[in-house]
């Protein structure tokens, strides 16, 4: 089955199969990233600019713009895993839960 993935309303949210699954304004914990100088960046996502499927685990990865709520660094984030497709269903990752470094390290397109 094909998965319809897109960002809508000016990057306000990620749609998976016509359902609003991931929205802006949540704070994501990004330990393995050099997003800013913080040991554990806590990054509030302000907008999504792209979304894609990646790999055999079918991770849903997003490009976004965010800001670290601790130090104020604003930057783009590439290929942030926001969830995965399990048996055709989207399972969202919890923003606060630490992102798997192995996935997080796969960056850039």
């Amino acid at each position: 089955m094909t998965i319809a993935l897109r960002t809508l309303d000016d990057g306000a949210w990620i749609s998976v199969n016509d359902s609003r699954e991931v929205g802006v304004s949540d704070i994501w914990t990004l330990p393995a990233r050099e997003f800013c100088g913080c040991e554990t960046p806590h990054v509030m996502l302000e907008g999504f600019s792209g979304v894609d499927l990646r790999g055999v685990d079918t991770h849903v990865i997003a490009d976004a713009v965010g800001m670290c709520i601790d130090c104020g660094t604003r930057d783009g984030i590439e290929s942030l895993p926001v969830g995965r497709i399990v048996e055709g269903e989207f399972k969202r990752y919890e923003p606060e839960s630490v992102q798997s470094p192995s996935v997080a390290a796969v960056s850039g397109r």
């Binding site: 319809a4 897109r6 809508l8 309303d9 000016d10 990057g11 306000a12 949210w13 749609s15 199969n17 016509d18 359902s19 609003r20 929205g23 802006v24 304004s25 949540d26 704070i27 806590h42 509030m44 302000e46 907008g47 600019s49 800001m67 709520i69 601790d70 104020g72």
Partner: protein, 591 residues
């Protein structure tokens, strides 16, 4: 690759959408196929319907856009009646109750909690009095903004209402201009006070004079490429074109067609014409316009009136807004009334409609500062009209902190939002009125609050600009605001400088109090706030903003976006009654 949105628009867009709205309304919310929802909601925007945010599925915002904000007698009452019948939510809002209308910064009215099943009846009720939601959202000609007191005001130089109406009549439901790469915001100003706010629109007509064939002709200069969204604010650029009122519609059509053909359809973030103006420059835009889109020789720009612009212009002489009692050209008066954050309750709406019909013509006009104006009030009716207690709240003489407050939709309904806005701004203004005195001579002080960088509340053109953010306070993430200073329009418009980042929302009133105190101490004699800001660099200004907790309490510090509705008693997503059937009963999900 074309975006999904472009593909959907290619398939069905414009007036063809109407039949489908009727069909879905007839068969109910659940008849919208699951795998077509994104496409339909994108298309519905063309008819002024915007799906509310996550947690509020099946409920829509509806926008009604009268050109230049002019609601003829009977139209305002009709909107109040529609709000009364159809715009009631599942729970009420602590500041505003349940049932209101929002006056917007582009002279439109927004209703919330609208159900698709009711839309055909609402359309009929609107059309019955000559109103429409067409192109109020979506990728096309949005509501045309302009002088709301056109035809009445002593400051008028050219008949802006005539042109705004002509543009509206020509470009609404006009197939050639229905599907543009992005929203298209047009402003027509006819007065010497600049109340059309042309500088922040995609296309602006501004009053001007020009010597043509030995005769002085009155018309408009043209500017292109203004807009505030996404950390990329631009003022519209002078493209060195003067048009007569007769030429204006053709030139507007040429520029709209140029945008249609040359705007970026691959990347919605780069689609607004401001980016084309960045890329091309004003001169190339003028050349392409002349060569490919206009059949007659364009005149170069005429003499404008920008030197006298006073609207939202800091310290300039003249009116800064339309609030108050003002004499019209015909000897009657118009009365500008303050609507705090633009939100007007239904019962109050009926009172105001009654008063306008009893003491005046019944016409109600909407301003870009989220206020309303009652026109055609004879001298001997002014007191009688204002005697109505409803005008204690919707006052022609509000406190400057209330008069200057603007707030966007925010996390109550909007997907993009980061923070709560309208209730918060009401509480800010209340606290400021009670606790802070304005420095001597400061009668206008504009505070605009936007819930994110889309800037619907036009924060960059305020004395104090507030923009939604998050920060950490006492170890917890909280809603916060960036603070900017010194923005405004006028002859030389200026965007605010963002000088303080991520101030916890509960410390913002204290920051404004301290800022005003520091301004009062350090200003030169009679120096206006905008001059004061302009004379200082950002670092110096940052030191003058001293965020501080005060007696102000903020009930929305937690993440209001993680609720289905920030003010519900049970506010978790699991408690949401949405999606719901037309009668409000929740629709169980399949899984």
């Amino acid at each position: 690759m074309p975006t999904d949105v472009e593909e959907w628009k290619d398939e069905i867009y414009g007036t063809d959408i109407r039949d489908h709205i009727e069909r879905f309304a007839e068969d109910g919310w659940e008849s919208i196929p699951d795998d077509e929802k994104d496409a339909w909601f994108e298309r519905f925007k063309w008819y002024g319907l915007y799906h509310q945010r996550a947690g509020q599925e099946s409920y829509f915002m509806m926008r009604i856009g009268p050109p230049s904000g002019v609601l003829e007698p009977g139209q305002f009452r009709r909107i109040v009646e529609i709000a009364d019948e159809y715009a009631r939510g599942p729970v009420s809002n602590p500041e505003f109750g349940n049932g209101w209308l929002d006056v917007t910064t582009r002279q439109a009215i927004q209703l919330h909690w609208i159900r698709i099943e009711d839309v055909p009846d609402i359309f009929e009720a609107l059309e019955d009095v000559g109103l429409s939601t067409v192109q109020a959202c979506g990728d096309s000609w949005r509501n045309i903004v302009g002088c709301p007191v056109a035809g009445k005001d002593k400051h008028e130089h050219v008949d802006a209402q005539g042109l705004a109406d002509d543009l509206h009549d020509t470009f609404k439901k006009n197939e050639a201009h229905s599907n543009l790469p992005r929203k298209w915001k047009v402003s027509v100003t006819g007065c010497d006070e600049g109340c059309g706010q042309g500088d922040i629109n995609d296309l602006a007509f501004e009053p001007a004079e020009k010597e043509v064939d030995g005769e002085t002709v009155t018309g408009y200069n043209v500017r292109v490429g203004g807009g505030l969204a996404r950390n990329e604010p631009r003022f519209a650029k002078n493209i060195d074109v003067f048009v007569t009122p007769e030429q204006a519609v053709e030139v507007a059509g040429g520029i709209s067609a140029l945008f249609r053909d040359h705007g970026d359809r691959e990347n919605r973030y780069k689609a607004r014409i401001k980016f084309l103006v960045d890329e091309w420059g004003a001169e190339k835009l003028r050349n392409v316009l002349q060569e490919e889109y206009i059949d007659f020789e364009l005149e170069t720009a005429g003499e404008d009136l920008r030197h006298s612009y006073s609207y939202n212009a800091g310290d300039a002489d003249g009116k800064h807004d339309h609030v108050g009692v003002h004499e019209q050209t015909d000897g009657n008066n118009y009365i500008g009334l303050n609507v705090l954050v633009g939100r007007l309750g239904i019962d109050d709406g009926y009172e105001i409609a009654d008063a306008a019909e009893e003491h005046a013509s019944g016409e109600v006009r909407l301003t870009q500062r989220q206020n309303i104006i009652l026109t055609d009030v004879p001298d001997d009716e002014v007191d009688a009209l204002l005697d109505n207690p409803v005008f204690d709240e919707y006052s022609p003489d509000p406190h400057p902190f209330q008069r200057g407050s603007i707030a966007c939709t925010g996390s109550e309904f909007c997907s993009l939002s980061i923070v709560e806005t309208k209730n918060r701004q009401v509480r800010f203004s209340r606290w400021l009125v009670d606790n802070v005195s304005l420095p001597e001579g400061v009668e206008d002080f504009h505070i605009h609050l936007s819930g994110c960088t889309a800037s619907c509340a036009q924060p960059q053109i305020a004395d104090v600009s507030l923009r939604g953010m998050k920060t950490r306070k006492d170890g917890e993430p909280v809603e916060a605001l960036d603070i900017g200073l010194g923005g405004g329009l006028g002859e030389n418009p200026q965007f605010a400088s963002w000088v303080a980042d991520r101030v916890p929302a509960d410390e913002v009133p204290g920051a404004i109090e301290n800022l005003l105190g520091n301004f009062d101490d350090a200003r030169r004699d009679g120096e206006s706030f905008r001059e004061f800001v302009a004379a200082r660099d950002d670092e110096e200004l940052a030191d003058l903003v001293e965020p501080e907790e005060t007696s102000y309490e903020d009930p929305f510090l937690h993440n209001t976006k993680r609720t289905w509705y920030p003010y519900a008693e049970e506010d978790g997503f699991d408690d949401s009654p949405a999606p719901a059937r037309a009668d409000g009963t929740p629709i169980p999900s399949d899984d």
